[in-house]
Structures are given as C-alpha cells and as structure tokens.
C-alpha cells in the first residue's frame, strides 16, 4: 500500500461524519473506531479527530499478553485477532494516542485498521472518503503533500518517547519535524487553566467523556 492517511486537525469542523461512516466498513461493520473530541467546548468549537496512527513499533502490540495485535506487511496495525484477544484492555490504556476501543461483551479489542477491506484494494477508507474538509485524507504522499500548505510529520514525542507512525499529522508550521506532547500544562496559554477539569455537559451527553474507550451497545 503506497497510500497512507494524513490527519489535519486544523481543518476539522467536528461534524463526526467520519464517526458515522466508520461503521460502514466491512472489517468492523456497525462499529465506529474514530474519535472526534472537543478540546473544551466552553472555550472553542475546535475538535481533534483521532484515528489509529499505525505506529511502526506499536505499543499496543507489545503490551498485548495474547500477542493478538499484528501488523501487515504494509504497516497497518490490525484489530486484535478474534481467537486470541482476551479483553484485557492493556492496549486500550497503553496506546499513546488513546485509540483502541474494547467491547467487553464480545471479549474483543477493536481499533481502526484503515478500513483494510477498502484500503488494501486501493479504495479510500470510509472516514477519508466522507470527511468534508480533508481533515482526514487518504492518498499517496506525493499526491497529497503538494496540495497542502501544512507540513507532514510522522514523529511524535511523548515525553522522551519517540513514536514513528505510518499516518502523517499535518503541522501548521514549517519549523517542526515532530510534535511534542508533554503533559497537560501545554495548553494553558491557549485555554483557561480550569479547562479539562470539568467537561461541558454537552460532551457528557454525547458520550464524549466515556473515558474508557468502551463500546456502548
């Protein structure tokens, strides 16, 4: 697969079209694997879309006791193998991006597999197909990047931990080669210090604050 995903949170309008469309992919029919989180609805309408970044060395796979999470040859990190997954949720809480979800009734972790039924055949994943603004885009690096004024970055630092991913984050600045995440003090210059303490009730009502990544149903 030469194509990959490009995520540009700046463009996200928070419509959650991707969340609805995610359910239409055959590898996880009826289950949505994407997150669109408000930063803090009280402050801004800004939202953060999160899909699996498909790490080169996925933490989720390493922490899996059942060795159930596999990578394809083209670097896509798959949903846990159904016969193996023990529903231990190590991956859910180890993932630096907060991506894997779990369904306890089914004893199963589920995560974005880049709609492998579609992407392995050259079709766009559902989220990237429907995303109105191109906040989620699927394509070849050489096709997508020249169209954008943002800089593709596929290296995250969480504290000291470098995480390299198959998926690119489109940075709004040309200066960075990586994005650094270093705790929740980061945003105080942008949002009020109280932010994050208490989510807006709207986020609650939408199930946005179901912090455990559990499937409801």
């Amino acid at each position: 697969m030469q194509e990959t995903m490009f995520v540009d949170p700046q463009r996200c309008i928070g419509c959650r079209s991707c969340v609805a469309a995610c359910r239409e992919c055959s590898t996880h029919k009826g289950y949505s694997m994407i997150f669109v989180d408000f930063f803090d609805r009280g402050e801004t309408t800004a939202t953060m879309p999160t899909i699996c970044m498909h790490c080169a060395e996925p933490t989720c796979a390493q922490v899996c006791p059942a060795d159930a999470i596999k990578q394809t040859e083209d670097g896509v990190v798959m949903t846990a193998l159904k016969p193996r997954c023990l529903d231990c949720r190590n991956c859910v809480n180890a993932c630096p991006f907060g991506v894997p979800k779990y369904n306890s009734a089914m004893h199963l972790q589920m995560k974005c597999d880049m709609c492998y039924d579609r992407s392995s055949e050259g079709l766009k994943p559902m989220c990237a197909s429907v995303c109105p603004t191109g906040a989620l885009t699927f394509g070849k690096y050489e096709d997508i990047v020249p169209l954008r004024r943002t800089k593709p970055v596929n290296i995250h630092y969480f504290g000291n931990q470098k995480v390299e991913t198959k998926v690119y984050l489109m940075m709004p600045t040309n200066e960075a080669d990586a994005i650094h995440i270093d705790g929740d003090t980061e945003f105080e210059e942008h949002l009020s210090a109280k932010a994050g303490d208490e989510a807006s009730w709207l986020e609650n009502e939408m199930g946005e604050t179901d912090n455990s990544n559990e499937f409801r149903s």
Binding site: F39, V63, R84, F158, G159, G183, H190
Partner: protein, 362 residues
Amino acid sequence: MEARPTPQKLNYRNPTIIGLISSAVLTALVIIGSRNLENFDSALFGYTIASIVAFGAIAFRYSVWLQRPATRIYFKRGLQLFFNKRKFAKSAKSAATSIATNLVEQRFIFKRARQRWIMHFFIMWGCILAAAITFPLVFGWVHFTLEGDMGYRAHLFGFPLILMNGRSLIAWITFHGLDISAVMVMIGCAIAIHRRLNDRGAIALQQFLLDFVPHLLLIAISVSGLMLTASSLWFQGYMYSFISLSHQALVIMTLFFLPFGKLFHIVQRPASVGVELYQNRSAEAEQAICPRCRSSFVGKMWVDDLKKLVTELGYDYRLKNGHTLQDYCPRCKRVMRGLAYAKAPDKAEPVFYGSRVGGPNV
C-alpha cells in the same frame, strides 16, 4: 534521550526443558495407563508418538508465550489473586463463573455473532468429543473386550467398567462417536469457510495458511475418518489401509500445527479466566484517577502494572510534569495531543481560534 523499545530476547532453554519434561511425563502416563503397553495397540504407534511430540511442542510454545512480559504479569497476578487466602472463595466463584460463561457457554462469541457461535460450537464440541474418544484409545488408557455374543466391556487404565449390549443405542453412540464428531466438525468448518468466502471484512484480513488451512485440515480429518467407517461398514474394507494411513497423516499434521497457528487459542483461551479475575479484582480496588479530567477510568493496580510493563518493554512515556502518559485516560491523551498540536504554530496564528489577522477576538 530517545527511548526505543528493546527487542525482546526470548529464552529458549527453559521452554525446551519444559517441553521435554512434558513429553516425558506423557510418555510415562501412556506406559503406566496402558499397563506397560499391555493394552496399547501398536497400530496406533504413529499417533502416540505424534501426540507426545505435539504435547511437548505445545508446552514449549506455552512457556515461550509466558515469557512475554505482558503475559507474565497477568499470569503471576492471576495466580497471586486466585490464591489470596482471604478472598479465595470469592476468587474461586469468579473463576467458576468465568469458566462457565467464557469457556463452556462462550457467550462472548455469541455477542460477536450468532452464526459465529454456532460455527464455533460445532467445531469445538466436535473436536472435544473426538479428542475425548481417541486420545484414551490411542494411549491405551481405554480398550474394549468382547464378552459373549453381543457384550462389550470397556476398560479404563486396565480396570473393567460396565458391560454394554452391542446393539444398544449407547453402544451405537459410543462406536459412532467419532463419526458424530466428524459431522459436527464438518458443519462448523463449512459455516466458517462460507463466512470466509462471503464476509468482505474476513476476506480482507484472512490469510490462507492461518485461516483456511486449519479448517481444511479438520475437514480432511473428518472426511477421511468417515471414509474409514464407510469402508468398513459398506465396502468390505475397500482401500481401508490407504485411507487409514491418510487419516493418520492428516491427524499428525494437525497435531504439529497446533502450537503455531490459529489453533493455539485452544490452550491460550483459558487464560481469559485469569484476566477476568484480575479485572474484577482491580475494579473493586482503588481506581486510578486521570490527572487531567479527574475521572476514574481503570483500576490503580492495573495502571501501575501497565506502567511497569511499558517500562520493562523499553518505552519511556514519562512526561515533564511527573506523570506517565498511561496515567491519563484515553480521551485526555487524545485531547492533550490535540492541544500540543494547537500550540505548535507561531503564537500569532493560533490554529483553533479565528482572527489570524489581528488580535484576539472581541
């Protein structure tokens, strides 16, 4: 400053020893159980050897698996919690419930899909039935003697059991147990293969060796087993020895396949009993509080174990503020990453506020 996960070094010495010991123990059991091979059918020698080797291989593989740091933690914790004296009764009850719902009833497969549960039901119980019949026979633990015209007597470890009328229903079921199991397995595998040929999700993900070969082997074993019955019942033993050899070859291949592919879940799955115990216990105990949103999202014991595990794997997710990334709930991890993104550009052009030209909003 960069931390990278260290590749896990696997130790093969201990698993090899465990594997060899397992094989030796099984060999000893075969010898003892068959009264010094008195009741052992030498025609089944090939099966016996294959079983002993496969058993050793599974033990080897299981030991290697337990070396995964994640597995080891769950394994240790599971045992530790189970044998905690004060809560033993509770743990035993929890484990019994888990065994009943997860391993016997397999409710979780039903939740995944009803068709899947039916498929798995047929394959699993077919295989268990077949194994329950064949292994004792192969190992010489059970054998039958003819008493009178129609009387069969079963012997377990050489001890005589009840006498059956050879024309009774029970006898018919007993002697056709393998045929019944073969039919069950074939039904289950047919459902599985049908799904794999039609479900677009499965089609995208499946690999021939991992997902089809086990089913094909099981079907081949079932078909050749049924052919043996047919040959002896209706065709006066036509090609019996050839079919028998083929059947033996297929069974041995499957036994050797057990430790590697999809079928390893048979020995792996029971670990879910321990995992569930661990989770139940962790949910009752102190909860971890996400330092950002202040919600309790998982058990503290669990997060602490997970952090140790992540460190042991060579990751360094410690943040400047003294927390570890895994201290945060999944949602806050996502939001924090977004906020880091928002902070990235020049301050004059905040990404998530309007008015890039000019000052802050009215």
